[in-house]
């Protein structure tokens, strides 16, 4: 049955696009989670919603307007944080609500919600066109290339900004570059899970991978694996059960997360009881 599903062109496009997005979301997400900016994806996707509304309002391809608006907003937020010394979570809240507000105002001006807008809100991976696929492949390649170039420095900055700065790194430049590629990643991913669920793809695979207790590189690899698995399983299940793919992808990632947490808890419990048994045997 799986082979039958894979024979469809739309399914092949969906899987390729989905796996690429899964990989870049995991990698960018790992840095976001560790920088304690988990809600950044949410904020950017809400700003993107405003950008998409501008595109639909002005008849421009909505993802391009979303790219421009989101990058400007992300840079603006970073500048605002530095300038006004606002805590990161408050800056994210400002961005999230104002982005959504812009979208709602523009949509109300243009006469209400359209089918197009719904596909951006909830994702439409099975409707990925060749044009979308090319855009996703180009964006993913650029994001991966930049990350591989700044990987060491970005990891150090995420670990400890002050030590990285003392180590001679341009922390400010690395942070700005990262914010731009994180914004681009979020916008490219909207096609997959939509504005409303994007942050789950950024956060869930990473917090699952972090619970495995490995080093940075291995955590990143595990997170990519979990994310890609969630996308593949989610898309196939959604087709077989005729349910929304975005929801199926996020629920798969949630199931993997819960299994990992429960598994870790159980292993810990077994180890503890083993130690207790050994203690009793020795005292006998």
């Amino acid at each position: 049955m799986v082979f039958e599903i894979l024979a469809f062109g739309f399914m092949q496009r969906a899987l390729v696009a989905g796996v690429m997005i899964a990989i870049i979301c995991s990698i960018i997400g790992l840095f976001l989670v560790l920088k304690r900016h988990s809600l950044f994806g949410d904020a950017m996707s809400h700003v993107a919603f405003g950008g998409i509304a501008i595109g639909l309002f002005t008849n421009v391809y909505p993802l391009w307007t979303a790219f421009i608006v989101s990058i400007l907003a992300a840079l603006g937020m970073t500048k605002l944080r530095e300038f006004a010394k606002i805590p990161a979570d408050s800056a994210v809240a400002v961005l999230l609500s104002s982005g959504l507000a812009i979208g709602i105002v523009l949509i109300s001006l243009s006469g209400g919600f359209t089918l197009d807008l719904f596909s951006f809100l909830f994702g439409s991976i099975l409707l990925v066109s060749v044009q979308d696929l090319i855009m996703i492949l180009i964006v993913s390649s650029i994001v991966l290339a930049i990350i591989s170039l700044i990987y060491k420095g970005l990891t150090y900055v995420t670990f400890d900004e002050e030590q990285a700065s003392v180590g001679g790194l341009s922390v400010k430049n690395i942070n700005y570059l990262f914010i731009v590629i994180a914004s681009v990643t979020v916008i490219a991913s909207i096609r997959l899970v939509g504005v409303l669920l994007i942050s789950s793809l950024i956060v869930l695979p990473n917090i699952t991978a972090i619970t495995m207790g490995k080093g940075f590189k291995k955590t990143a690899i595990i997170s990519c694996g979990i994310s890609a698995c969630s996308v593949i399983v989610g898309i196939i299940v959604s087709y077989v059960m005729n349910i929304a793919p975005s929801g199926a992808i996020v629920l798969t990632a949630t199931a993997i997360f819960l299994t990992a947490v429960l598994g870790k808890h159980t292993v810990r419990k077994i180890r503890r009881s083993d130690i207790n048994i050994q203690d009793v045997t020795m005292s006998d």
């Binding site: 002050e162 003392v166 207790g213 080093g215």
Partner: protein
Amino acid sequence: MPAEIVSVENVSFGYDSSLSLENVSFKAYEGDFLGIIGPNGAGKTTLFRCMLRVLLGYKGTIKLFGQDIRDDKNYLKRIGYIPQTRSIEQGFPVTVEEVVSFGLIGRKYTKDKISSAIEEVGLIGHNKKRIGELSGGQLQRVLIAKSLVADPDLLILDEPTTAIDMESENKFYSLLTELNKERRMTIIWSSHDLDAIKKLADKVACINKRLFFHGNVGEFFNNEKLMMSAYLESSMQAHMHSHFDVNNNDKIVDPDGL
């Protein structure tokens, strides 16, 4: 005459409402082991943050390796910095090897260098361990390995023994002595542990916003009167500053007026 490594001239720095450093001046030369003492909030960490370009809004001049640090940040490559371990997030998913490799960013990277730095601090076999699995003392040694891997000329340590046990502390002190005596590495070390400073350092600077004493360890510790007056005076100053901070904001020096 050994080369001048650090020159701090009339450095003052203020945070939002009070002055943390006031006209501090001292020098350190190649091979010096300088202990910096003073009560909590004396400005020791602020002084280091100024020397390391983390804080650039200071008044005065800081020269490292003969160059004004405002002009060029290349000098940072010659410095190893060990912060307080309590500032490290131990839940971060990173291995010992990965942390040590941070010290080689922008330099020639070899696995051998990393392994030998880890070996040097006595953590053989811990390369692949996540930092969350280490004790405070072991984590401290990882940070030392990260600082040593690039073979620095100057080592700056900010209260490095705050979170470590006695045994690790002794091993750590032996390592510092070896680096200073055998490799002639210049060390500047802030600590509350006066006994350790007395045993390891050859020079001491006592600060509490202002510099109260700078000279040989022997001169400081063998002269009880001098030690008491410098250390007590500095502690007394801390008490008075905190008193003014709480009760009379008008007494606080405006940093903008520096």
